[in-house]
């Protein structure tokens, strides 16, 4: 059973992520950042999954929409703001990596490529290493449903299934791959149905309900730790925003459709559950909103005054022997 405090903490992480994400859209409109790709509508799946795992112990291979997942792992709004603005204090890469191509050493989150699905086989390899090392860790890797069309995805999942590796493949089915609806990406109803052909446990979960996601991930994580192999979890949800700041989604979906899905906003659903349970009061909510605003304001203000990286010898050092890892 989740404690009141934990439930509130889960809600808070979603809320903070939402307000940070919304601010990124504003910064982009104001021309203060070059690009944004959003996780709005997907926070419940991301935060629910992290809370069901062991932070700082398990491994995480996220994808670009996992802003809430990263906040749940200890990445901060300030870290994100620094990364978006390409500042030298950006903790992932000192301004080298594109924003939203997450990494976080302290939480076992390695950096990755823009090429979709490549994290899938990395996850299998980490799972293999965990097994070889005799550890009881698990790996969570996230992906969009559209990217499960890649050969790489099938190959990675197949490996994990054959060797019963402790990997959780969390597919965030937001129903679109840019403008392509899921029916145009695959002949099966959804990614969970692909599990059967690959020989692992595949399940759907309502990805707009953070507590349902938590339950499912907690269960399959225990299975994985016991050596009972990988699982494929399809979190059903909806991409509320355009694909990215470069996209105009009005060309391929109606406003009515988007508005209808906003009624299933994961943040509102969690809020309703917690209000009903008496965990969240209007006063508490007001406090949390104010706190989120303050943190996001401070993060952006800090990042804006932070220095840009300078061109020095460090910039061209690419081999491990040339770089100090202190």
């Amino acid at each position: 059973m989740l404690s009141k405090e934990t439930k509130l903490d889960m809600y808070w992480t979603m809320l903070l992520s939402r307000r940070l994400d919304e601010r990124a859209w504003v910064l982009h409109r104001q021309g203060r950042i070059a690009f944004h790709i959003s996780g709005i509508g997907q926070e419940a799946a991301q935060v629910g999954a992290v809370f069901a795992l062991r932070r700082g112990y398990d491994w995480f291979l996220p994808y670009y929409r996992d802003i809430a997942l990263m906040l749940a792992l200890g990445y901060t709004p300030r870290d994100f703001a620094l990364s978006m603005m390409g500042k030298s204090e950006d903790i992932t890469s000192a301004g080298r990596q594109m924003p939203s191509h997450w990494s976080l050493r302290s939480a076992n989150v390695p950096s990755q490529s823009a090429t979709v699905a490549t994290q899938t086989s990395h996850a299998a390899g980490i799972g293999l290493a965990i097994k070889l090392r005799g550890e009881d860790k698990v790996v969570l890797t996230c992906i969009g449903e559209g990217s499960t069309s890649q050969g790489e995805w099938y190959e990675g999942v197949n490996w994990a299934a054959i060797h019963r590796l402790p990997v959780i493949f969390l597919v965030q089915n937001n129903q679109y791959a840019i403008s392509e609806r899921v029916e145009r990406q695959m002949a099966v109803p959804g990614p969970a149905a692909k599990a059967c052909g690959l020989g692992l446990d595949g399940r759907e979960v309502d990805g707009t309900d953070i507590f349902q996601v938590y339950e499912v991930i907690a269960e399959v994580a225990e299975k994985a730790r016991r050596g009972e192999g990988p699982s494929l979890i399809e979190a059903k949800l909806y991409r509320i925003t355009p694909h990215s700041s470069d996209d105009d989604d009005r060309t391929y979906r109606s406003r009515e459709e988007v508005e209808a899905h906003k009624k299933r906003d994961p943040l509102l659903i969690a809020q309703a559950i917690l209000e009903k349970e008496g965990v969240l009061t209007p006063k508490k909510l007001e406090e949390l909103e104010a706190k989120a605003k303050r943190i996001v304001d401070e993060a952006v203000a800090y990042a804006e005054q932070a220095p840009y990286p300078v061109v020095d010898d460090n910039v061209t050092r690419v081999f491990a022997g040339e770089v100090s890892h202190a």
């Binding site: 390409g86 301004g95 080298r96 699905a117 069309s149 392509e180 910039v315 061209t316």
Partner: protein, 323 residues
């Protein structure tokens, strides 16, 4: 002649070829309803229909593999890969299948296939999204590699590529789509494998292509104000590589600078300079200089990114060094 953007010129060539030949069809991610990653195929879906403008799942290997299959039956697929960075996912099909099938089948089947894609940095998309790996593809015998630097060449070369019975990798530059230029109307063809003089001059020969043509032209204008006249040879096609205009120019100037956006090591400049040294060594009066990308994965931050990419000043400095 009309003044068109690079995007319009490419789009026009594709449109006209689709109208002319019912065997031509387009496939790729987001080419249909969305109109293409760089909006080149906007309006095609409504006009030519879903069958000939096929949206595919996100699976580059299958896009190129299926295009090869369709080409073997005599159709003329134009496959679009969102960026050349994702071509690596389809690398086996491009270099092991497309480039070799005709030769290994004793010429009994042809592969009239075009792969259109976008190369180049400068848009703050970082290391795995901004590469200019054109030279890698030009390494393989059997694959034509075309990379135009002007709208007119883009139109003429794309038409030639679609009509070619060989597989062609057609590389567009991510930051050239808005570039304008005169484009001949109607059935305008530029032959594959012909370099062209884009600017005449007597002092130094600059050899370049694609986006770096624009950078070199700017450098040439500034140098002209200082009394240095550069001649610019645009390769336009990396394979087959036409060196004749390069040799003719160097026989006049006796000096050469090669400007490419990709990394210097094992690059276009390496190939071009080797051919110059091998074939017209006696005409060279100063060591050849190469201007290229710094040897780092392209960073995100704008200053770092621009530091790594070749700039107008780098070209000017290199020209002065060989003077």
């Amino acid at each position: 002649m009309a003044r068109l953007t690079m995007r319009e010129a490419i789009s026009q060539a594709l449109w006209e070829e689709m109208e002319r030949d019912p065997d031509v069809f387009i496939l790729g991610e987001e080419v249909g309803v969305w109109g293409g990653t760089y909006a080149v195929t906007k309006g095609f879906y409504d006009h030519f229909g879903a069958e000939r403008v096929r949206d595919t799942p996100i699976s580059e290997a299958a896009i190129v593999g299926a295009a090869i299959g369709a080409a073997l039956t005599g159709l003329r697929p134009v496959a679009e890969l969102m960026t050349i960075n994702f071509a690596f996912v389809a690398m086996d099909h491009i270099v092991n299948e497309a480039a070799k099938l005709h030769y290994m089948f004793g010429g009994q089947m042809v592969l009239p296939l075009v792969i259109r894609t976008t190369s180049g940095g400068g848009r703050q998309l970082a290391a795995t999204h901004s590469q200019t790996p054109d030279a890698i593809f030009a390494h393989f015998p059997g694959l034509k590699v075309v990379a135009p630097g002007t709208p007119a060449d883009a139109k003429g070369l794309l038409k030639a590529s679609i009509r070619s019975n060989d597989p062609v990798l057609f590389i567009e530059h991510a930051t050239l789509y808005q570039t304008r230029g005169e484009v001949p109307e109607g059935d305008y063809i530029v032959p594959i494998g012909k370099s062209a003089i884009q600017r005449a001059g007597r002092d130094v020969t600059i050899i370049t292509y694609s986006k770096m043509l624009e950078i070199s032209m700017k450098a040439a204008d500034q140098l002209a104000r200082e009394g240095i006249e550069t001649e610019i040879v645009d390769l336009r096609t990396l394979r087959p590589l036409d060196m004749e205009p390069v040799f003719d120019s160097i026989k006049k100037t006796n000096r050469a600078v090669i400007v490419e956006e990709g990394w210097k090591s094992y690059g276009v400049g390496a190939e071009v300079s080797a051919r110059i040294y091998e074939q017209i060594f006696d005409y060279i009066d100063a060591p050849i200089r190469r201007v290229a990308q710094k040897e780092v994965p392209l960073p995100y931050n704008r200053t770092l990114e621009q530091m790594a990419l070749p700039q107008v000043e780098d070209v000017i400095a290199a020209v002065k060094e060989v003077m």
